[in-house]
Symmetry: C2
């Protein structure tokens, strides 16, 4: 039985929390929030959608690729952030795409982009729509006759596999599970697992520089990209398959993170690896978060490179069933075709660096993992109860982390005094961690969106002022633009804008995202 | 006693081979080349320099920073490639810099660049002049009134050290040894050791994406750069210190590999590490190069990440004293603060993947290393004997390596039938190696330059057609431009040129390098 994708919330309708589960979890969370009031809201229904009329009509030659059906338009109106879900719940659709396109191949895409350039229609590349930063939201500046959301869902093939160099060539629209299904019979895997893995595409990962499963080394999709092919309004931009090159600035790096503003990622060669068959997992427990931070730093700087090195603060550990009143560091090593003794030595050495109560077992990691995969569904459930709940993330050098953490928590509490704020490290580098924050706060009737936007702005100001990046792996989209504008060197933005004028002379690619 | 830098050849005059050593090595090499004739040439002397008159005069306000002395101009006329050495031997200086500048700080540099833009003088950033691709050669297109070589040698300070996040802030002109000297008392090291380490600068490494000591993971300077500051004619381009960020395309990547065409790298924060205190080294020997290649691939794909994984073909091993008639794979693991058992397990596992005669000892690596550091001096000695001797390098996916290797060797032999051609892997990646070729061929009197250029063109055509990159870590400069032009996506070159117009509107930065 195929499941039904939710047009307004995370993932599959069948996997969402039931009304009973929602009610139960609502009681628990309201209690944790000191008796917060709940404002239960109805689950949105397709029949009730009310959208502004489409402003542009497709040319006859493209009609078969396009739809203006309300369900498609509503489903492509937003990504999957809390603020997207709330706007669905509110039935607010001020700027849905006028049309949704489903190109079958590059030829279709080329004709679509040519029409967009001609008719000054904003072209919004859409992989699988899991952006949490407004990256796929067709909110374009003035001066466009309309927008088309370009859904790459039909360009989802595995084209070629090179088992010697271990790389796979795929189309941009392929989703995580389909890619892994194709690799499994060959004993291979990409092993890039963003939380959105089931509902995000290779092209989306590349366009947004997504972060995956590995806490060290292959932390983001960048490291997996051997070459990339992007269709731009000026033609094809395709890099050569190379393990590495020092010839000029890296051409892949212009595509990685371009967020659909230069073109559409139609293909990529990705580095794959044998499926891990040996693992060593353990955990360390600390009385304070600060002690856990020091241990995480020592492991990150050890040269051991664990696949998993995830630090949970005491509240995060408790909420996810991984600990009680203590910070927990989850450590995991994995490999294929190596003796277990290699990984056991590595794990032992990493745990020895922790100076804490340690354990060689996968227990804490398993609890955490199942909770992690359910988290977006839980968030939707809490949104339906009128609460404010969302996550954001950054990266910062170790010397600045403690101050950044204090200021971000203080900023959230300043705006929402009753808020629960948790922090974990999703990735660690020798020179700093990537901290990931979750905020859960009581809602006020009809004010969920405004409340969250105020918290988010305060926290973004705080982390940016403390030397963090506005995003380690959620991307910039439309929501992070103000902070990105002050983080990126002004001359880099000039250079990037100049590059865009070459590749997208009419400025139709994802207008309003990333660049001013 | 301070040693004297050679103005025409590698390194220090005192470290060059003596006339007697040259004669001895000449006999051996001539014999290996089947009785090649030698054409000994005199060592160049400063007193004999004959340079064209400088075409531009410095403005009075800058006079104290500039010189038009013949020694400075000759020393800054070329890098340190074989073709540079030969042109020094030939006394050919068709386009030396008209002036050489020695700015003390960014303020000096800003005034210099402003004058260059005003007076349309080509500004050629010069770190320590070890380019082997014409990167610092003031051969500029028509339309410039002159050229100034900007020597960063006085901007060589260590500014700040962060021992928590383990990063050091330095000026662009600092050379390798000075940087290591500053880190040593803190128990830290950068451990980026290009062959040119003594005679190259941090700014040069960044501008050319240099390759260093590590065969895996931190293979090139890119991985060490936390942030960078570049002075361009349009102002300062400075990135934020971050362990990682997913905010838009990586701004560091526009500077890395820009080869002085966008601005001058004045500062960088580099990631440092504790000095290794445990090591495990070994080697494996193979009857054929092909068997060694397979073993290197297995190690590269194992997830073990040796610091050293260097494959020498039988001739390379023999010439360097590391083996006799067999290919040799040198493997080394290193770490700081970890039990030796961790590295020993890793080495054992890596050697077990080799399926060959293996040895746990550092012997072969030591022979190879001392030979490696002497290699450029040896090359100069052979050049002085009228031979043709040079190296070039590439990177290619594993599936294409065997064909690339065959074709490159065939191309060299086609042009120079008596040539010795050796190959080694300097770096290995999961998806492919970085092969490094050395060619030694008999010379013809007065034709060394033409002979090498013909070999180089044939080999570059061959490796490029076989799917390799024109450079893994020697950069593009002026010499590799034709092949770079076909390797890089055309739209990327358009984008890069557009970026250059923003950062260097008058087009005075290193004209003729990298970009058309």
């Amino acid at each position: 039985m195929t499941k039904t994708r939710s047009f307004w919330g995370w993932g599959y309708e069948e996997d969402a929390l039931s009304a009973e589960e929602r009610a139960a979890v609502g009681l628990v969370v309201a209690d944790r929030l000191g008796g917060a009031e709940l404002y239960p809201r109805p689950v949105p229904h397709v029949g009730e959608l009310s959208l502004p009329a489409a402003r542009v009509q497709p040319p006859a030659a493209l009609a078969s690729l396009l739809t203006d059906g309300p369900l498609s338009r509503a489903a492509h109106a937003y990504g999957k952030a809390f603020r997207d879900v709330v706007r669905h719940l509110d039935g607010q659709y001020p700027h849905p795409p006028d049309l949704v396109a489903f190109p079958r191949d590059e030829a279709d895409l080329e004709r679509l982009l040519a029409w967009c350039a001609d008719a000054r229609v904003g072209a919004i590349p859409y992989g699988a729509g899991s952006s949490v930063v407004g990256g796929v939201e067709p909110a374009v500046p003035d001066g466009y006759s309309g927008t088309v959301s370009i859904d790459l869902g039909r360009m989802n093939a595995v084209i070629e596999l090179d088992e010697t160099a271990r790389a796979v060539r795929v189309q941009g629209g392929i989703l995580g599970p389909a890619l892994e299904d194709a690799l499994r019979p060959h004993g291979l895997t990409l092993r890039h697992f963003p939380q959105s893995f089931e509902f995000s595409s290779v092209g989306g990962w590349i366009a947004t520089r997504s972060g995956g499963h590995h806490s060290t080394l292959r932390t983001r999709i960048d490291q997996f990209v051997e070459s990339v092919r992007m269709l731009t309004p000026s033609g094809v931009f395709e890099t050569r398959r190379l393990p590495s090159s020092g010839a000029g600035p890296d051409p892949n790096s212009l595509v990685l993170g371009s967020e659909g503003t230069l073109g559409v990622v139609t293909e990529a060669w990705l580095r794959v690896q044998p499926r891990p068959d040996v693992r060593a997992r353990g955990s360390a427990r600390f009385e304070t978060f600060a002690a856990g931070v020091e241990a995480a730093r020592r492991v990150a700087q050890s040269g051991l490179y664990p696949a998993e090195c995830r630090l949970l603060d005491p509240l995060e550990a408790e909420l996810n069933g991984a600990g009680q009143g203590e910070a927990v560091l989850l450590l995991g090593f994995e490999a294929a075709g190596l003796p277990a003794s290699v990984l056991e030595e590595q794990l032992r050495s990493a745990l020895a660096l922790c100076g804490a109560r340690t354990e060689v077992s996968a227990g804490a990691a398993s609890s955490w993992r199942s909770s992690f995969l359910r988290a977006p569904y839980l968030r939707d459930a809490l949104a339906l109860l009128g609460l404010v709940v969302e996550t954001f993330e950054t990266a910062v050098t170790w010397d600045r982390f403690v101050v950044l953490h204090e200021r971000v928590v203080a900023a959230a509490r300043e705006v929402a005094p009753a808020a629960l704020v948790t922090c974990r490290f999703t990735h660690v580098y020798a020179d700093g961690p990537a901290p990931y924050f979750t905020v859960i706060a009581p809602g006020r009737d009809g004010e969920q969106l405004r409340q969250w936007d105020a918290i988010k702005a305060a926290c973004s100001d705080a982390l940016s002022a403390a030397g963090g990046t506005i995003t380690h792996h959620h991307a910039v989209g439309r929501d992070h633009r103000p902070w990105y504008g002050s983080e990126a060197p002004a001359l880099f933005l000039d250079a990037l804008s100049a590059a865009k004028r070459e590749l997208d002379p009419r400025g139709v690619m994802n207008p309003g995202a990333l660049l001013p």
